[in-house]
């Protein structure tokens, strides 16, 4: 068991290094020069001298290998540097945008889990009944619906409904406030995005719950439990559900990791200032330091979620530990 855990944790290092190398290379392959954009943005002309000073200032005049080593060394010390575009520390730039993305992702996860596990279980228990059909249609539709379109439609619906009720249309506010400062305002901002994202998430987890449940229910130990004369409730909760949850936990973990980096479209629809849009902006501005830090953040979340899921799996399922 200890060896498994240590091996699994060590595997994180090559993934993080590889991702760092990938984003480093990709950013430098993109044609363009941040200094040209920065100096030329005012429409004024500038000298070759100014361009070189700018390059030296942000450190992109050094050879790639030196830049890469500096980047990795910074990562090791949790020093992400200064944004090449705004001149502010990268940590501050990210800290101001991260809470809203994280909140949407966490709320979407809660919505998904709360709906998916009971509905998926019922659907499996009553296979081929009308409730199964409804749940399956709902979940297949969830996977098929583009979240940004659902977002546009939900805003439209809210506008129309509030128009009909109060006479003037209401739109969720845009400026983010933290939950602790103003919970109602905070929820009114985050609710719709979380619902639209959560629908797909819920659909994916629901399908997984259903198919995992169906598989487990056919196992011999369930038959044994029934033969022992156990109450159906205990069979389902303790014997079936507990075993069926393993793949569901994996899917939830994978989707959560995917969500943090994939919120761009939702943020675009709802005009949220999250890290998804910051990522697009920083690539377009050729802001190497900010993009690198953002990518490493998203990759780290994905890698750590996977690690957590794997360790949880090993803790729950003795078969994995032994291999």
């Amino acid at each position: 068991m200890h060896r498994y855990i240590i091996n699994r944790i060590l595997l994180v290092i090559p993934t993080l290094l590889g991702a760092a190398a990938l984003v480093f290379a990709l950013m430098r392959l993109i044609p363009g020069d941040i200094c040209l954009v920065r100096l030329g943005s005012g429409g004024t002309s500038f000298t070759e001298q100014a361009l070189q000073t700018c390059h030296a200032e942000i450190g992109i005049d050094k050879p790639w290998i030196v830049q890469f080593i500096q980047f990795i060394w910074g990562l090791v010390r949790f020093d992400f540097g200064i944004s090449m575009w705004s001149g502010k520390p990268v940590v501050d730039e990210i800290a101001s945008r991260f809470p809203v993305s994280l909140e949407v992702a966490v709320m979407a996860t809660i919505i998904a889990v709360v709906l998916a596990i009971p509905l998926g279980t019922i659907s499996a228990l009553k296979q081929n009944s009308w409730i199964d059909l409804v749940v399956r249609t709902f979940s297949i539709a969830g996977i098929a619906t583009p979240s940004f379109w659902l977002g546009i439609m939900s805003i439209l619906l809210v506008l129309d409904v509030t128009q009909a009720i109060s006479g003037h249309p209401w739109m969720p506010p845009i400026d983010y406030v933290s939950f602790w400062k103003d919970p109602i305002r905070n929820l009114s901002i985050v609710m719709l995005p979380a619902l639209t994202v959560g629908y797909r998430y819920c659909a994916v987890s629901m399908r997984m719950t259903r198919s995992a449940m169906l598989e487990v229910l056919r196992e011999d130990y369930i038959r044994t439990a029934r033969a022992k004369g156990l109450v159906e409730k205990i069979i389902i909760n303790r014997h079936a559900l507990k075993n069926a949850m393993l793949p569901v936990v994996t899917v939830i973990g994978l989707e959560f990791a995917f969500l943090i980096g994939g919120l761009v479209v939702t943020e675009q629809v709802f005009n949220l200032n999250g890290i998804g849009r910051l990522m697009v902006l920083s690539v377009q501005n050729q802001d190497y330091t900010l993009t690198q830090a953002l990518v490493m953040l998203v990759v780290a979340i994905a890698v750590l979620t996977n690690l957590l899921v794997d360790l949880l799996y090993a803790g729950l399922d003795p078969r994995i530990r032994l291999n």
């Binding site: 129309d160 993009t291 996977n306």
Partner: protein
Amino acid sequence: MTVAAPTPTGTSALAGERLATRWHVALAAVVSFIRRQPVGSIGMFLVLIFGLAGLFAGVISPYNPTANDFGAMIQAPSWAHWLGTDQLGRDVLSRILYGARTAYIVGITSATVGGFSGLVLGVGSAYFGGRIDLFLQRINDIVMSFPLIIMALAVVSIFGTGVHNVIAAITIPLIPRCQRVVRSSALAIREVPYVDAARALGFSHARIILRHMVPNVVAPFLIMLTSFVGQAILAEAALSYLGLGVQEPTPAWGLMLQGGAEEYATTAPWIAIFPGLAIMLTVFGINLFGDSLRDVLDPKLRER
């Protein structure tokens, strides 16, 4: 069989007969699928409808999808424009029909290229094992954890926008996903005695992989391939919506939801509703079909 050499008429008649039998077998398979999987057939029907719409968009479109008509801007659905017109006076129905073409081209190409690359890498990784497997799996981890949007942005910034680059941006992340599933199925097969037997007989690696292992992972692979088509269509729509995918004036569903659609959503909801419905119905159909395909192909489910 395919070489058209000057053969006696007898043989060619035989070949023709064989071809006819093949057609019959295929037809019978389709008929039995429809009979056994009514829900899947609905999915197949939806996929076919949009596929045919894309294929024959040039013939059946009532208007030119890229022609602006400033005399008929933002018109509600009517007999002249069944699904209304957008802010530039373009016919929404015609744009949806042509958009189907874009969606299918991107969806099918990305899914096939990504799927087959994943198949080869996944089976290869499982077969060779050891260092090759370890190396490929680390690459897999990196690509899987890397944010899609950065990959897409980089591809578009380096190579420019356009259908080919969108396909590339969507294909890359599909490869590791396919690879992982195929690898785990193939790992189980590697332990089966007939693979050992093939190795003992001195067959080449390529022969063992292609003739003995690949056929056994075809079922999960086909199911995944269908879901990839749906995922790729959704990804294309999202990228185009963000302005990183297909560019104007090419008609694409995601593009139709961008800009004007949001701006006029309250006054002209048809501009936003119909392209989204088209995406949803197509992917819905693909998923329904894929689910039934799994029921048919998975022997575990077939028993019951």
